[in-house]
């Protein structure tokens, strides 16, 4: 999968409350959530973002709440992926589970300016800044997470575990 879009660059510690404020956490629909993405950090974001754009940010992106709607809101706004120096751990899991591609790449963040056009090869983590011609390589996901993503996400993995448990006689009430 090749992602291609403009970079919207933000600082460190972008928290889940500015990604999707608590007042919208009574929403579930991705499109509705998307209308309020990053509202309290950059009120103009939803007007300027185009489908396929990427967010580029410093350290600890997504810190704070466990609200999975934070990842969903970004997807709902059309964000194709996030490149950051580091991610908060719950947000990291939520992105893998909801299928929002994320890339840890400190050098890439330093080498991308707001508004640059970038392409990311999700398969190998190569990030290319089309505006400057520079290339960067994101930290590889551990093998287990790569497999999880390749299988189609956590729920498909759960289905396989349920089936395996049923086959080995390790019965769970629902796998009979």
């Amino acid at each position: 999968m090749i992602l291609r879009g403009r970079a919207h660059k933000y600082g460190k510690n972008v928290d889940t409350d500015v990604i999707i404020p608590g007042r919208y956490c009574n929403l579930i629909d991705p499109a509705e959530l998307g209308k309020h993405a990053l509202e309290d950090l950059d009120p103009g974001f939803v007007k300027k973002v185009r489908p396929g754009d990427l967010i580029v940010a410093e350290t600890n992106f997504g810190c704070g709440s466990s609200r999975e709607v934070a990842a969903v809101a970004l997807k709902g706004a059309g964000v194709a992926g996030v490149v950051a120096k580091s991610f908060a751990r719950i947000f990291y899991r939520n992105c893998i589970n909801t299928g929002l591609p994320i890339f840890e790449c400190p050098e890439g963040v330093d080498g991308i300016n707001d508004g640059d056009t970038i392409t990311v090869d999700a398969a190998n983590g190569v990030i290319r800044n089309e505006t400057t011609g520079r290339e960067f390589r994101a930290t590889q996901f551990p093998r287990f997470m790569q497999d999880l993503i390749a299988q189609g996400g956590l729920l498909r993995y759960v289905e396989q575990r349920l089936a395996a448990k049923a086959a080995t006689g390790d019965r769970t009430p629902d796998a009979v």
């Binding site: 500015v18 466990s66 759960v158 089936a163």
Partner: protein, 469 residues
């Protein structure tokens, strides 16, 4: 099995998850370590021992990716609603793995503030009935999840607990491995009773010295986050140790474990001692396993906090790491004070607030909102006369709810308003309008500030030290 095993290796045969079919060991990937593994189990931290036991492995090391069986899975109405809709998508999962090991707690926007949140709560209520989930805490019989579960004896030493709420780290106060996850992880756990995770490296924080009057566990954890930063423990386990910690009551341990996530930690954990065991006995928690960190266990780093000089703390907007001494912020005017929540909504917190508010009045221009964390705490406040003290002082006393902490209801802020709050996050817009401000503090400081209308250290009120309520 109380008291065993102490020290030594994890004992996979004696892991928790009683009643769950014994899990085959699962290690998806070993961390690339220095040299090979030996037959002798490596020295481990308490977090590593709990994880190893629940993965059915003799040992784990930081970076390993493992699957653990879970003793308890918790969700509130916000995380449960999404989790339930994800659960429905899992082929082959019609019933949850164990209805006795799931806790569902309406807490955030409850009693429901609008139709949308009422709908989310109803989804959870209906799911609890459909699946026969035993631990569903209806409004009026529960409160805030992280106050309710411990006081009902539902979390114990050596257990593994995940929750659809980032402050699930609270249960590390009793020496459990407890961490917050998103809704899809909760859905997976509903079906499987398992979770995959990367074993975290541990950071040890040693609290030395003696606490000054009016310095509470909240001040210690704020000071700690100020020291190490909001990403100071990212992906790590925080282990709280030292002589000061040994003196802390369980309420204070919950407060500190609760805010581990504000340093980015996966979990925060306390050693299990006589205080823990007395608490477990009092709340009826039985059949738990005690693990202790080995003396030669490996830590990513050790931070020593000298507590004797720590003053009452305040974290100023917009991050919990922006800590200052309360006494340096006397020119900051406040419009609201919130005392309660999963961080400071226990009876000990209510007593601290009442100690300050007794015989005093909330300043004109300040709304003081006191929120006992559970029905039990609410009832205890009434019995001890604390509710009367709060009302006489001019506070409103609310039903248990997360309400204002998440900018939900029961105390949302207007543009430009400032709140001193015993909650855990002071992010931009957290409690309301994007230009409103939250200052984080403990109950003593929040109450003292409510009295003066400006951020105030309780020492500045010239109270007799330790004046009883």
């Amino acid at each position: 099995m109380i008291g065993k095993p102490r020290g030594g290796a994890a004992d996979p045969g004696k892991a928790g998850c009683a009643g769950t079919p014994k899990q085959a060991p699962v290690r998806f990937a070993a961390a690339s370590g220095k040299g090979g593994r030996t037959n002798v189990a490596r020295p481990m931290t308490i977090t590593e021992k709990i994880l190893a036991a629940h993965a059915g492995l003799p040992e784990v090391r930081p970076g390993d990716i493992i699957s653990i069986c879970l003793d308890l899975v918790m969700a509130n109405e916000l995380s449960a609603a999404v989790a339930i809709s994800e659960f429905r998508k899992i082929r082959g999962a019609h019933r949850v793995w164990d209805p006795s090991r799931i806790a569902l707690v309406p807490s955030h926007f409850t009693p429901n503030k609008d139709i949308a949140t009422a709908t989310l709560s109803k989804m959870m209520r209906d799911f609890a009935a459909e699946q026969g989930i035993q631990h569903y805490f209806e409004v009026g019989r529960g409160g805030i999840e992280h106050v309710v579960l411990p006081e009902n004896g539902m979390v114990g030493p050596g257990e593994t607990i995940i929750g659809g709420d980032s402050h699930t780290t609270t249960y590390g106060g009793v020496g459990a491995f407890a961490t917050g996850v998103g809704s899809t992880d909760i859905a997976a756990a509903f079906a499987l009773g398992e979770m995959w995770l990367r074993v975290p490296p541990s950071i040890k924080i040693v609290y030395q010295g003696r606490l000054r009057p009016f310095v509470s566990a909240k001040d210690l954890i704020l000071r700690t986050i100020g020291e190490i930063g909001v990403d100071g423990a990212i992906y790590c386990a925080l282990e709280f140790t030292g002589p000061v910690v040994r003196e802390l009551p369980m309420s204070g341990r919950f407060t500190m474990a609760n805010m581990s996530i504000e340093a980015g930690a996966k979990n925060g954990i306390f050693p299990v001692d006589a205080v823990t065991e007395a608490y477990c006995a009092a709340v009826g928690k039985r059949d738990y396993t005690v693990y202790h960190s080995d003396p030669d266990a490996e830590y990513q780093k050790t931070v020593v906090m000298e507590c004797s000089q720590v003053e009452p703390q305040v974290a100023v907007p917009w991050l919990p790491e922006n800590t200052k001494n309360a006494s340096e912020l006397n020119d900051v005017q406040i419009h609201q004070a919130v005392i309660g929540t999963c961080t400071n909504g226990r009876i000990e917190d209510m007593r601290q607030a009442a100690e300050i508010l007794k015989g005093r009045k909330v300043a004109p221009g300040v709304r003081a909102i006191v929120i006992p964390g559970s029905q039990k705490v609410y009832s205890q406040c009434l019995k001890e006369g604390l509710t009367e003290i709060f009302i006489d002082a001019g506070c409103v006393v609310s039903t248990p709810t997360c309400g204002p902490c998440v900018g939900g209801h029961m105390g949302v802020l207007a543009a430009g308003e400032r709140c001193i709050s015993t909650t855990n996050r002071n992010f931009r817009g957290r409690m309301g309008h994007v230009t409103s401000e939250v200052y984080l503090a403990g109950p003593y400081v929040a109450a003292a500030s409510a009295v003066t209308g400006y951020i105030t250290s309780p020492e500045q009120l010239a109270l007799p030290v330790g004046a009883a309520v």
